[in-house]
């Protein structure tokens, strides 16, 4: 089981008078039953994590654990690490989760991390995630904004001539051109701000889904694979192997690794010295296809 050295967690639900214990086993203690119901993780068919709860299904039994019951974000992170570690060991469990920057720990397998590895610790920055999100959603975004600005400028110029214009007067032409360039610039800026707002909203949504974004993250890149996990729960004994993912892209701020066309690993370049950025990029490129 991955993340098997994390201590177990008991979650009390005073409303339903139930308690859940999440550790090597999953157990449910009902206040009116003396003996808890104990499940092996392999007993579960599906687990879903939404913004508000975890839902676990074993045969006819379905349990919902509200995240609001766990007040301490560190405990929530531990609970999620234990559940995902257990799913990593039982790949038959169907696991669904919301948007995420950190890789799901269900992809992890145990590994002795070699001494020669790139290791860094630090939190993600909103700016680098937003920038990368914009790039992710519009790969040719810069060009698109330029085209949009030029198109807006030409349109404004044309409109001026239609409604006001005498093109024989050279002074008019100069004034109209200046106004068009301004209009194009404003249109481009508006488009950029609109996209930035979209990215910020997306980040807000991810942040709500994934409280780990506010935590310190440990990043490991080595010959066997890579990992990004909350420093508090990571003990350097689990990793995602290179063969678990498909390709990566490089943006101005981060390397992003993809699996089934979903971004699973964001590695901020900022956390490594500038002089090894190229070496790091080459190291990943030697193991993954770059797009």
């Amino acid at each position: 089981m991955s993340f098997e050295s994390l201590s177990g967690v008991k979650i009390n639900d005073s409303e339903t008078k139930r308690a859940f214990i999440i550790a090597d086993f999953f157990s449910v203690c009902e206040s009116d039953e003396g003996v808890p119901r104990i499940y092996k993780w392999s007993d579960f068919q599906s687990v879903t994590e939404t913004r508000d709860f975890f839902s676990l299904k074993s045969g006819a039994d379905e349990f919902e654990i509200q995240k609001s019951l766990i007040r301490d974000p560190a405990v929530l992170i531990r609970v999620r690490a234990i559940i995902e570690g257990a799913i990593a060991d039982n790949p038959n469990i169907d696991y669904k989760h919301g948007k995420r920057i950190l890789p799901p720990k269900t992809l992890c397998s145990g590994c002795e991390i070699p001494t020669e590895a790139y290791v860094a610790t630090g939190a993600y920055m909103e700016r680098e995630i937003n920038n990368s999100n914009i790039t992710l959603h519009n790969p040719g975004f810069d060009k698109l904004i330029w085209v949009f600005a030029v198109f807006a400028a030409i349109l404004v110029l044309a409109l001026q001539f239609i409604f006001w214009g005498d093109i024989t007067d050279i002074s008019n032409l100069l004034v109209y051109t200046v106004i068009s360039v301004f209009a194009g610039g404003i249109a481009g800026m508006t488009a950029y701000l609109f996209c930035a707002y979209g990215a910020k909203t997306l980040y807000g949504r991810i942040l709500k889904d994934d409280p780990a974004l506010l935590e310190d993250i440990t990043f490991v890149i080595c010959d066997k694979g890579f990992m990004a996990a909350e420093t508090e729960v990571y003990d350097y004994s689990d990793i995602i192997r290179w063969n678990q993912v498909e390709y990566f892209i490089e943006t101005k701020h981060v390397y992003i690794v993809f699996n089934k066309n979903k971004a699973v690993f964001w590695l901020p370049k900022r956390l490594f010295p500038k002089d090894i950025h190229k070496e790091l990029g080459d190291f990943i490129a030697d193991r993954l296809l770059q797009k």
């Binding site: 967690v9 203690c29 003396g34």
Partner: protein
Amino acid sequence: MNHNIITTPMNINGREFVLAEVTRGMGHIGVLRYSTDAYTATDFFYIENEPIIKIVNPNTSDKHAEKYIMQVSGSEKCSEAIDVRLNASAENLFRYNQDLARSAMPVLELLNTGLYVVHEAQMHPADGSGNFFWNNYCVKKAISGTSETHASIGDANFSPCFLMPTITASSFQIKKMYDIADKIKSGRQFGGVAYHVTGMYSALLKGHHEATAALMENVDFKCLVIEPLSDVVYDSSEQGQSNIEPKIVALSCPYVNIPLEGLSEKTIERFLLTRKHIKPNAFAEIKPKTTKYVRIMSKRAFPGLVYEKAAQLPDCAAVEASSGIDYITEEQLDALSAGEVKYTVIDEEGNEESKTIVSSNYYSSIVTVANYLQVNSFNRFLTFAISLLKNDELTSVHKFIAERLLGIMNPTVHEYFEEVSNRAEQKEGIITDTAGRYRVLWAEHLQRQQNEDESYQIKQRKNTQNMQAITEAKGIASLEAAVKNMGDSPY
């Protein structure tokens, strides 16, 4: 550290034990998960900050996979405080006959947080294949009986009776072993402390010389055995019914299954919250030592009799086969000796009822019962085996039983085989050849024993001479000192 230990004496199906709940334990003894790979896992049994035994599971997805075991270090490198506690536990139980819970307390404090079953059991200083345990785990090899589950045992309980040493063979002191053997002869009780590691195997924490001496003297070697309670048992009555999810009904370790109903909510909660592979505080110190060990093979030679007697101990197959039987009565043995697979019981109303002893297959019944008796009651095994051999109608099992007796150097067996050899001069039988081989082995055994006795006497004589020399030297020294003192004296 403020540790807390709650002990509860229990008895389930005639198995007496103490359930110990350790909270905030020192974590000086246990098994740690060192690394896992796609299909393999490497664990280390450690004491304090010393990795002692390396356990490699070559296929984590197969519960029947035998593990690779290797001793990588010795507990003689650990602090004396550990040894003092282990010694106290062993002495309390076997010398001063204190109760199990109180005796176990010093060693329980050394464990990690969790639930443990503590019991007393007969243990074998052998590797489950007839080899003496010391110096036998110095190379990495697959050991039978180390898998997580055993096909023929299933959920049945057994005692993890084979021992793995935790001190290196270079620490063996023959004089210490003979001293203990002398004390055993004079009637003193010795025992050890063992910790269950995997399958049928326990690490011997205390009592290496005692185990060896007991083997030499043909005395049972008992240990205070600690087994981490870390597994669960499903309700077998619900298994196989597609519409019902099988329920977990008991917590388990090899020695016993404890039904959930018999445990308090707090105890169950402690079990559920404890994780099996929690890393000890000393992990950072242990980790570098796990890769920098050297082979600890020692050239130390043990007395030849030790190897011979270890070969006579039950093997894994015998323990496995015998685990399905709770007890065999004399009536059942008599019926089997008479060639029957069933025996008659009289119920409360006085009606006679015929019941199968083990199986309707006679040969398999004999194999199972022989295994059970050899593991649990050696004298009954001898009597039963010879009674089978004496029944001329049961020739189908004679070869199997005779081969079983071949490794047992015992006067009763020798007497029987002598009789068979003498009879063979008139008429050849199915076990004549085995009886002949036994004669040769017996002669070798006598020779070995004689050599052993002679070397022991020589050592004793040397010891006595040394002691005399020391006493004389001390006497002369004290005389000289007295003379000197007299010279210094103003009188």
